[in-house]
Every structure is written in C-alpha cells, then in structure tokens.
Amino acid sequence: MRTILIDKIPSKNIIEVSSSAQYVFDPKLLKGQDVVEVEFLFNTPGVTSEIIALYSCDELSPVKLRTSARHVARSTSCNTVVRAVLRDNSLSDYLGKIKIEKTAIDTSSFLDDAVLVVGKGTHTRSDPILEIEANEVKASHGSTTGRVDESMLYYLESRGLTRNEAEGLIVRGFFESVLGNIKEASVKNYLEPLLGIGEK
C-alpha cells in the first residue's frame, strides 16, 4: 500500500480513493489552517485505505479537522485513526464521519479517535458520526478523551522512571502504536519530530 502525505488541502476538499492507499495528514497542515476538511470518496470497488491523523496541540496551534469516509462503490474498506495529545490551553476539534451509501454493500469502515490530555485548561470537541444506508456492512467508531492513566504512571514509576519520563513514554507510545503502521519510512521519520517524539 502506498503512503501519501496530505500536506495541502485537496481541490474541492475531496480525495478520490481510486487505488488502495494510506493517507497521512501533515501535522503542519493541521496546525497551519483554520479548518482542514477532507472527504475521502470510495467510488472504486474493492479499494482499501487507511486515514491517519496524528497531532500534538499547544496553545498557539488549535486543530480543527473534519474527515469523511464516504463509501459509494461496493466492497471498499477504510480505517480512520486519529491521535491527539493536548498540552496546556490547547484545543482539538475533530469531526469524523463514516457515510455508507445504499449502493456500498459489503463495506467495512471504522474510526478510532483518541485524545490524550497532558496539559491544563484543554478543550476537546469530538464528533464521530455514522450515517449508514446499507445493511451488508461493518461499521463502528470509538472515541475517548482522558488524562494519562494514573495506574499506568505508577507502574512505570515502579520500574524506576520519574513521573515526567513515564508521561513522556506514554505519549510516545500513544503515537508510536499508530506510527508503526505507516508503511513509508520517510513519512514516519518526517512525523516524529513534529510530534515531539524524536529518538530519546
């Protein structure tokens, strides 16, 4: 599967998924624009795709992202994964839609959105949406917002890490679990420093 970095807003805000591919949002684009809105249009039967958005928000760079996986052709599949880390006074506003048209039988589409809060005074807007018009489909979404788990911090501290180190490790792992799925090493290498998780 090819990996495509989305570093500018596509024309008419639509990307046609005509062959199987992995799409990764450039964190610079997400932070640089007021709103980033992209519809992924599945009108070629049998294509499969992954949509990945990873970002770390701080006070100066709120992120407003809208993605839509719109399935029209049959037997397409999509997996949307969003990971956001919120630092002091930051905002993450994410709307992620899965739309399955009546014609799109045998669709699989999933969305998984997680916000990890590490700072104070943070704001989250989260709107995972399903619009399902067909029944021969598999679709689900999950969305979580929460601080770093206390028992996890304690477990890592019991192995000799300071609280800050433990939190840093959890943040790193939070992104790493998705970065690990990015096929193209250059894209992965490009993202790491932007997420503040270069090599320790």
């Binding site: 304690y154 477990y155 890592l156 501290e157 000799g160 890490l161 959890i170 792992g173 939070f174 998705v178």
Partner: protein
C-alpha cells in the same frame, strides 16, 4: 536488616485494610507471606512500592536504612525494590525492547546501544524461555496471564533488585510456567543474593523457592510466624486454625 516494617496501618478510600503490621526481612532472605483473600497481602505489597491509591495512616518502613514512605515509586525502584504486579498495566505503543533498555540505562546510569543491549537480554530471555521476537510487542498489551507474569520476571532480571516482592506471581500458572518463574528468582538469588517476599495463597510455589520464614496474615494483621514447616501445616489444615 534489608526491610523493616513497623506497626504499619494503611487505608484505601477511608477503609482501613492493614491494622498494624510489623515485619522484618534480612538481606538475601526469602519470606513467604500467606493468607486468604482479602487479608491485606496485596495492600502491603502496593504500599511498599508506593501506590498512590493507598494511604499510610501510621507506622513506617525502612528499606536498606532509608525511610520508604517519603519516596516516589521510581525512587524506591532505584533503591533496589521491585514489585511483580498482580495486574500489570498495558502500555500501548511502547515496545518491550525499548522499554527494557530504558529502565536498564536508568538503573545503571548508562546509555548502551540497542545492539549491545540485545546481547545482555539474550541470556535473560533464555532463562525465561521467551522468544526474541517477543521484544517487538508492546508492553503487556494483549498478553495472556502467563505472558504478563513472565514479562514481570523479565523486568526483574533487567533491574536486578535487592528485594523482589512477588504479588501472587504464581497464581494462574501451569507447572511449567511456575518452574520458569522459580528459575528466574533462583538465578538472581544465587548471582546477586536477592531477597524475596513471596505473596501467595498456595504452598505449591514454596516447593521451588524454599522460604526462611513463613508469615500468615488475616484481616489486616499478622496472626502467625514460623519456619517453612508452617507452610506444611497450612497445606494440611488450611487457614481455619489461624483464625481469630
């Protein structure tokens, strides 16, 4: 004395669990702490390690002549205290190899390369009969009960503590897995003179790790202490004779 606990009282959410525990454990000693469910054994283990959910209301504990309860969990770890958790957290995205190297480097105040660490790890993996490809998995994520226990033992081998507290590390293991755990503990006892506090319901594990002392807890207090023959007595009669 490596560990000295005096009149320890501990509460969780205002409910008193430990009601005055006094316990000593010498360098290199093996102590078995036994008792039925709800007697407070795990509370003692978590309190020693510094779990913030537990509140010490009275008493103190010295570990290697240092006051334990004023220290953070990582500071206790640095002193050489290790707890094998009954329910270890799953930490997504953090590979075992990276994590083990990180804690190894911190413990030994060094910065060795991944390649060099791999050779150090090889020996430890062979003790635990763990395959090397295990190392690319995320810490405890999706592990079976037995795998989690082995993962705890692997971290113990990496950290080489002075005292390992094994909180029901034996429970839920089949006989082969139990032998592997015992092998890891015995290895550090022989090589590093590690002391062990074994928390368990069952006497089975004591066949492999013979205790110098057996302590029986019930409802937050210690009801009996004795040598390893006490374990045999428990095996024969159960906990009933040790009730109030």
């Amino acid at each position: 004395m490596l560990l000295q606990i005096n009149n320890l009282r501990v509460s969780i959410e205002d409910k008193e669990i430990l009601k005055g525990i006094t316990l000593k454990l010498g360098e290199g000693e093996v102590v078995a702490l036994m008792g039925p469910n709800g007697s407070g054994k795990s509370t003692l283990a978590q309190t020693l390690m510094g779990n913030p959910a537990y509140t010490v209301t009275d008493g103190n504990a010295l570990f290697d002549s240092q006051k334990l309860f004023s220290l953070e969990a990582n500071e206790r770890s640095n002193l050489g205290l290790f707890l094998s958790f009954q329910y270890p957290s799953e930490v997504t995205g953090v590979t075992i190899s990276n994590f083990l190297r990180l804690i190894y480097n911190k413990k030994n105040n060094t910065k060795i390369s991944p390649a060099k660490f791999r050779t150090i790890l090889k020996e430890k993996l062979s003790i635990l009969e763990m395959p090397e490809d295990f190392m690319s998995r995320y810490l405890n994520e999706g592990f079976s009960g037995g795998e989690k226990k082995r993962m705890e033992m692997l971290q113990m081998l990496v950290l080489e503590p002075k005292l390992a507290v094994l909180d029901e590390t034996d429970s839920g293991l089949d006989i082969d897995a139990l032998k592997i755990v015992a092998k890891a503990v015995s290895y550090l006892r022989q090589e590093k003179g590690m002391a062990v506090l074994i928390i368990t319901h069952y006497t089975r594990v004591l066949q492999y790790l013979e205790p110098d002392k057996v302590v029986i807890m019930r409802k937050g207090i210690i009801v009996k202490e004795g040598d390893s023959s006490l374990a045999q007595e428990l095996e024969d009669k159960g906990y009933a004779p040790f009730g109030e």
